[in-house]
């Protein structure tokens, strides 16, 4: 192999202890390797542990068994090079949008001036330059998620984990942001792992779709999407793939 995988998951298991003392398996025997510049979508029913998997890769949670590697090193804690965008609105409500985007740079010890300048560049990238001084509560849900994406990108991570980032948005905004995300991704092709419960969203975005099943969460199938981008939802192949994956989720 010319290049080792950016993320490698080996026999990952995650069990939770319930209050009654029983153990509930959330993830079981996950093996997955993600290459540089891959755009991967993970779809599955709720409760299949897809968000948990992402949180483990981010270093926010620990594995019960098995190991997760980032660039050959085992993930034990969070890492600036692995960014994450959450479904819940995660901007700091007491800071304006520009300061929010600069947050990771401030953590990295960059001077205020420098960080704000760089933050401005990412603000432009997501088309929010008119709202630099606005506060999160003044923004719509879609704009808040754009800002959250800009904040993650400002850290220049190698991998971007996205946990249903468009899950709370209305259908139209969602499609706009999908296009927007692809446009940004085409520029520097960061490795993206994107969790969603929308099969349509996964087909629109991904190079590869990981289909998961629930109780316990396991990888059911891995599907390559070879249609060229931008993908046309009217393309019969699109519909066929959609039906096929939905069929898998039903079973």
């Amino acid at each position: 192999m010319l290049q080792e995988a950016v993320i490698n998951i080996e026999n990952l298991c995650k069990t939770y202890a319930t209050k009654q003392g029983a153990f509930v398996p959330a993830l079981k025997d996950i093996n997955l390797s993600v290459d540089l510049n891959d755009f991967i979508c993970i779809v599955g029913p709720s409760g299949c542990g897809k968000s948990t998997m992402l949180r483990i890769i981010a270093g926010l949670e620990q594995t019960s068994e098995g190991r997760v590697f980032y660039m050959g090193e085992e993930v034990k804690k969070t890492n600036r090079e692995v960014g994450m965008v959450f479904q819940d609105y995660s901007l700091l409500p007491w800071q304006n949008v520009l300061d929010n985007i600069a947050l990771g740079l401030v953590f990295a010890g960059m001077s205020r001036n420098e960080s704000l300048q760089l933050a401005h560049k990412y603000l432009k990238l997501v088309g929010l330059e008119a709202f630099a001084r606005a506060y999160p509560y003044e923004l719509s849900g879609g704009m808040q998620q754009r800002a959250a994406i800009a904040r993650a990108l400002a850290n220049d991570p190698r991998v971007l984990l996205m946990d249903e980032p468009f899950g709370a948005l209305d259908a139209h905004t969602r499609i706009l942001l999908q296009e927007e995300l692809l446009r940004i991704w085409e520029q520097d092709r960061k490795t993206i792992m994107f969790v969603t419960h929308s099969v349509d969203e996964a087909i629109y975005l991904a190079d590869r779709i990981i289909v998961m099943s629930a109780h316990p969460g396991q990888i059911k199938e891995v599907i390559d999407v070879t249609m060229p981008r931008p993908r046309d939802r009217a393309n019969p192949l699109y519909g066929q793939m959609n039906a096929r994956i939905l069929g898998m989720l039903d079973r």
């Binding site: 960014g83 904040r151 139209h172």
Partner: protein
């Protein structure tokens, strides 16, 4: 949130922060036929109806009774209140006594804040600290500050800050001797629990996603504390301080009834009672009410100015 009536990329929510907060009007909102002014005036009159009825009834009853020990005349009270700097029954003026009381309350309150805020944050953040202290502190919580009086007297008697700091004479002695430890302790107890509880639950209620996203962005524990946790809990802390100061101020009378006290509004009230000057008793009560309301108002302004984001975020 959720049902945003516009498409993404549209205008941001129309939030007129400065416009609605204190009832001020922005220039472009002023309506030249004056209907807003009229409405404001009508509201003001409406809110004065009950006080006016109250004072009228008082006036009529006082006139009927003609017994100033039971109910003094309204005009006597007004006389006292519009000359707050006059010397009363050789106990100093109303203003002077209010000032003494304020200093006492502030010292007890500040001590309570200095201890309760770090304790509350530590208990909210670390489960082990919570378990260590919660049962112990919970036992003392239901005890009314007044119930501490006998014990506090046994401990501190009439020991004052002057004794503690070793000041024996001079101007400072007069000031410091007025600050009895017993009083400070009673006020401290009153302010302690509201501040502790709000700090604790403030930390508990910080949205987890804010901490998670900061960690993913590379924050270390110090960053999390300084840049996420502290700003996120400060509205609850200030809210707890507002309530704590209110309770501390309410403990004032009981604290100033303690031996060794020769000044303060609380002492003025009890002393005026023994010489049957009910008008001074009521004037003292009114001052306690007004000062308490002003302190509360100042905190509210601070909350509105600094923490508008909290109200507007949801």
């Amino acid at each position: 949130m959720g049902e945003t009536p516009y498409l993404d990329g549209g205008e941001p929510l129309d939030v007129k922060r400065s416009g609605t907060q204190f009832g001020f009007m922005e220039p472009n909102q002023i309506n030249f036929n004056g209907s807003r002014v009229k409405r404001f005036g009508a509201q003001l009159i409406w809110s004065l109806v009950i006080p006016a009825v109250f004072i009228t009834v008082w006036y009529l009853i006082a006139n009927h009774l003609q017994n100033p020990v039971v109910l003094p005349h309204v005009r006597d009270l007004v006389q006292l209140l519009i000359h707050p700097a006059d010397n009363l029954i050789s106990m100093g003026s109303l203003l002077n006594n209010i000032f003494v009381s304020l200093v006492r309350v502030l010292i007890g309150f500040i001590l309570a804040v200095l201890i309760a805020v770090p304790a509350g944050i530590a208990m909210g953040y670390y489960d082990s600290v919570y378990r260590l202290f919660n049962g112990f502190l919970g036992m003392f919580r239901p005890i009314p500050p007044l119930a501490w009086v006998p014990l506090v007297l046994a401990w501190f008697g009439i020991t004052s800050m002057a004794t503690l700091l070793g000041v024996k004479q001079g101007q400072w002695y007069i000031y410091l001797n007025n600050l009895k430890l017993s009083m400070v302790f009673i006020i401290f107890i009153g302010a302690f629990y509201p501040v502790l509880t709000s700090s604790l639950y403030g930390v508990r209620n910080v949205r987890k996603v804010l901490l998670d996203s900061a960690r993913v962005l590379g924050a270390n524990e110090k960053d999390i504390f300084r840049l996420i946790l502290l700003p996120a809990v400060s509205p609850s802390i200030v809210n707890g301080m507002r309530i704590g100061l209110g309770v501390a101020w309410m403990c004032l009378v009981s604290a100033e009834m303690l031996p060794g006290s020769l000044s303060g509004v609380g002492y003025l009230i009890t002393h005026a009672y023994t010489v049957a000057r009910t008008d001074i008793v009521i004037a003292g009560m009114v001052s306690i009410g007004v000062v308490g309301a002003v302190l509360d108002f100042l905190f509210r302004i601070l909350e509105d100015k600094k923490f508008a984001w909290q109200r507007l975020s949801r």
